[in-house]
């Protein structure tokens, strides 16, 4: 198996493909965090008064909080006063009227990433709200969506043009007091995406955002809010890559989803931020709060994610199942290689009657990677007839990685049904040998076995994402099996 081990290692050792830095002048606030910085940030964004007040409330809450330490991850202390909380590409001071006016350097960056920003978008049928550092630089398909009454814009624009919706729903799923990182985000979030799908409208295309962290030492604090009104449905794709970096970068995003009666939201993520080098140096700290609220009857929220990047991932996309018969789903593949650490999972909180949830989590650990699944299923007293099915599988590649499972179950209603299955397997020499005996190379065998392991999750991804996900998975594990 010596050769198999070498190949996994070679896979693992592949350099981060998207590690390049774009030289664009940035218009930044000085490093550090205080009420003055927040006021200046809010002023730069020309925000209405309620926004500034909300930010300040969050900030005052945040200074009383301490950073959580319960996650199964290790990292040096973060100096929050050494972070730049606002940076916008300077060329945006005067908003471009079309993509032609966008900084060509920036466009080239997207092209390097293979992001279809122009004609490709039409071909791909994807509307892109691209977030470059802190300001949205280009939004497309907006008019077509507008005809259907769908609002899809940057968060900043939503604050300007749809303040009532923002006021009504911002913090309604993740309150500004929620947790250390979410509270920080509430105080300083720079931009993000906003989507509102009106009653009875099915969004005809996949909505997509590409996030990219760029300016050095700039914390990236996205805020995303998606609302599906009664009978509406929307599928949202979030995918990201980041340039190579020496110093660790903090990323603390918040995503809030609200589904009203009979509404459906599908939120898919492919996360490929810089994971650090082979020794674990550098890489993104990804501390994200994602939560959906199935507020209405028969509503449904699905989270599907492939997490291959970041030095540290701390992320638990969750569902609050309030409406009767509402459904929450979580499908996840998390990969850790080299010295990556992931503590990820979900929370399914059953509140309404006959609510159902499904959790399928696949953790893959290679190299020295540590992968933890942390999940909570909570059935409240009111949740008669609630059902949950959880399945958590771990795959180990090599003998220096780790997989951990922390399932929490809290059942307060005797009519509930809760099932939990968990497996841990090592990618078997027998499996690899079997493939090789049939003529399949070692590397292809590993990729085939790993993709097979993830199949239940990948089939939940939208088509174009599924292909990308498979490729990304192969790249992430390159060299990790010998």
């Amino acid at each position: 198996m010596a050769t198999a081990a070498n190949q996994i290692e070679a896979l693992a050792n592949q350099e981060y493909k998207y590690g390049f830095v774009t030289e664009i002048e940035t218009d930044s606030l000085p490093a550090g965090l205080n009420e003055d910085i927040i006021a200046r940030l809010s002023a730069k964004k020309k925000e209405p008064e309620f926004m500034l007040e909300w930010r300040l409330k969050a900030y005052r809450q945040w200074v009383t909080m301490t950073e959580p330490s319960w996650a199964n991850v290790n990292y040096p202390p973060i100096d929050y006063q050494n972070i730049v909380y606002y940076s916008a590409p300077r060329s945006l001071k005067n908003r471009p009227k079309s993509l032609d006016e966008v900084d060509p350097e920036l466009v080239r960056t997207y092209e390097k990433l293979g992001i279809p920003l122009r004609e490709q978008e039409l071909l791909a049928g994807v509307a892109v709200d691209a977030v470059f550092d802190s300001v949205s630089v280009a939004t497309t398909f907006k008019e077509k969506l507008a005809q259907l009454g769908i609002i899809f814009c940057s968060f900043s624009e939503a604050v300007q043009h749809h303040p009532d919706l923002v006021k009504k729903y911002l913090g309604s799923v993740v309150p500004y007091t929620d947790n250390f990182f979410a509270t920080l985000n509430s105080a300083v979030f720079s931009d993000g995406s906003f989507c509102y799908v009106p009653k009875g409208v099915r969004c005809p295309m996949e909505l997509s955002t590409y996030f990219r962290i760029n300016a050095q030492n700039t914390g990236q604090f996205e805020r995303t809010l998606i609302i599906a009104d009664e009978g509406a449905s929307v599928s949202y794709l979030e995918g990201c890559t980041a340039p190579m970096r020496d110093s660790n970068q903090l990323h603390a995003a918040v995503v809030e989803l609200v589904a009203l009666d009979d509404a459906r939201i599908k939120y898919s993520t492919v996360q490929n931020w810089y994971p650090g080098d082979k020794e674990g140096k550098g890489g993104i700290y990804n501390f994200v709060t994602k939560r959906g609220k199935c507020l209405g009857r028969n509503s449904r929220i699905s989270w599907t994610q492939l997490e291959t990047g970041s030095a540290i991932t701390w992320k638990y996309p969750s569902c609050l199942l309030i409406g009767e018969n509402s459904v929450g789903e979580f499908y996840s593949v998390a990969v850790t290689n080299n010295y990556q650490q992931a503590d990820t999972g979900t929370k399914m909180i059953h509140i309404g009657k006959n609510t159902r949830s499904t959790i399928v989590s696949k953790g893959i650990s290679a190299g020295h990677g540590q992968n933890s699944y942390r999940g909570m299923v909570k059935i409240q007293k009111s949740a008669d007839g609630a059902r949950n099915y959880s399945q958590c599988d771990s795959l180990l590649i090599g003998d220096q990685c780790g997989a951990h499972t922390f399932p929490y179950l809290e059942v307060n209603n005797s009519t509930a049904q809760v099932e939990h299955e968990a497996t841990t397997s090592k990618i078997g020499e027998d499996q690899i040998f079997y493939c090789r005996q049939r003529g399949i190379s070692n590397e292809d065998a590993v990729s085939m076995i790993v993709n097979g392991f993830c199949k239940e999750v990948f089939r939940e991804l939208p088509m174009e994402f599924a292909v990308e996900a498979q490729k990304l998975l192969n790249v992430s594990l390159e060299g990790s099996v010998g």
Binding site: Q431, F433, C435, Q437, G439, I440, M448
Partner: protein, 251 residues
């Protein structure tokens, strides 16, 4: 086609094969019999390239090439196929996908064009008719949830699709009821041809009632102690392996 000379192999520090000589020509079917622990399956594993076994001496030529220098996948692409005693499960990977990847790897090596899903499907449908393999077997993940009989049948089906030059069947009869045994044997017999050689590794004579070998070799304690025609298998059936120790002592 296959020429084994003075082959010695270890598992850890223990010597399992203690000097094997065997000559297999195209068109021949050889049966290698012997009691448990005699080294039959080790021989099959060494030929297929399992890294668990360390070859300490001897040489093996396959199609004139040094087999022992090749990786398992290189051997497979050259036309060596092993039907596994315990076929391995690969969850989430459909039998069809697996087999097409295998066939295309082999075709690529031969400089042939790779088959797309449609062409492959046609090829497979022919084979399923001959082997009476249910098509639902094809869409299921490789060996997952298969009965013992289905697994063995699947091995023979794979062999039929990959059309190897040399097929090594490792205890293919173990765990089969008589109907499954007959079906598997029919599949193997259909594959016999003047261009193809087969080595059947088996504990029992039973299989050889259905796949009649040209040669029978008896292994004991890491060596081939007797070779003969198909009648040797019948003789063993009567005397059992118990008499072998005396044979060895007499030698």
């Amino acid at each position: 086609m296959l020429s084994i000379r003075n082959l010695h192999a270890n598992v850890g520090d223990k010597e399992i094969l203690k000097g094997i000589d065997l000559e297999v020509k195209a068109g021949q079917v050889h049966a290698v019999m012997g009691p448990n622990g005699s080294g039959k399956s080790t021989l099959a594993g060494v030929l297929a390239g399992r890294e668990l076994f360390e070859v300490t001496a001897g040489e093996v030529l396959f199609e004139g090439k040094n087999l022992l220098e090749m990786k398992p996948e290189e051997r497979a692409r050259l036309g060596l196929f092993m039907a596994f005693q315990y076929p391995v499960e690969i969850p989430g990977v459909s039998n069809m996908y697996f087999l097409r990847a295998a066939l295309n790897a082999i075709r690529k090596e031969r400089g042939e064009e790779e088959l797309d899903a449609v062409d492959f499907m046609q090829l497979v449908q022919e084979k399923t008719r001959v082997l009476e393999v249910g098509e639902n077997l094809l869409s299921r993940p490789v060996n997952v949830g298969f009965s013992g009989g289905e697994k063995k049948r699947n091995e023979i089906f794979q062999m039929a699709v990959l059309e190897p030059r040399l097929a090594i069947l490792d205890e293919t009869d173990s765990g089969l009821d008589i109907d499954a045994l007959k079906a598997v044997a029919a599949g193997v017999n259909a594959m016999r041809s003047p261009e193809r050689a087969m080595v059947l590794v088996t504990h029992y004579q039973r299989l050889l009632n259905y796949i009649v070998p040209d040669f029978v070799h008896v292994m004991y304690d890491g060596r081939i102690i007797r070779s003969g025609g198909k009648e040797l298998a019948l003789e063993l059936e009567e005397t059992g392996y118990a008499g072998l120790e005396e044979t060895v002592a007499a030698q």
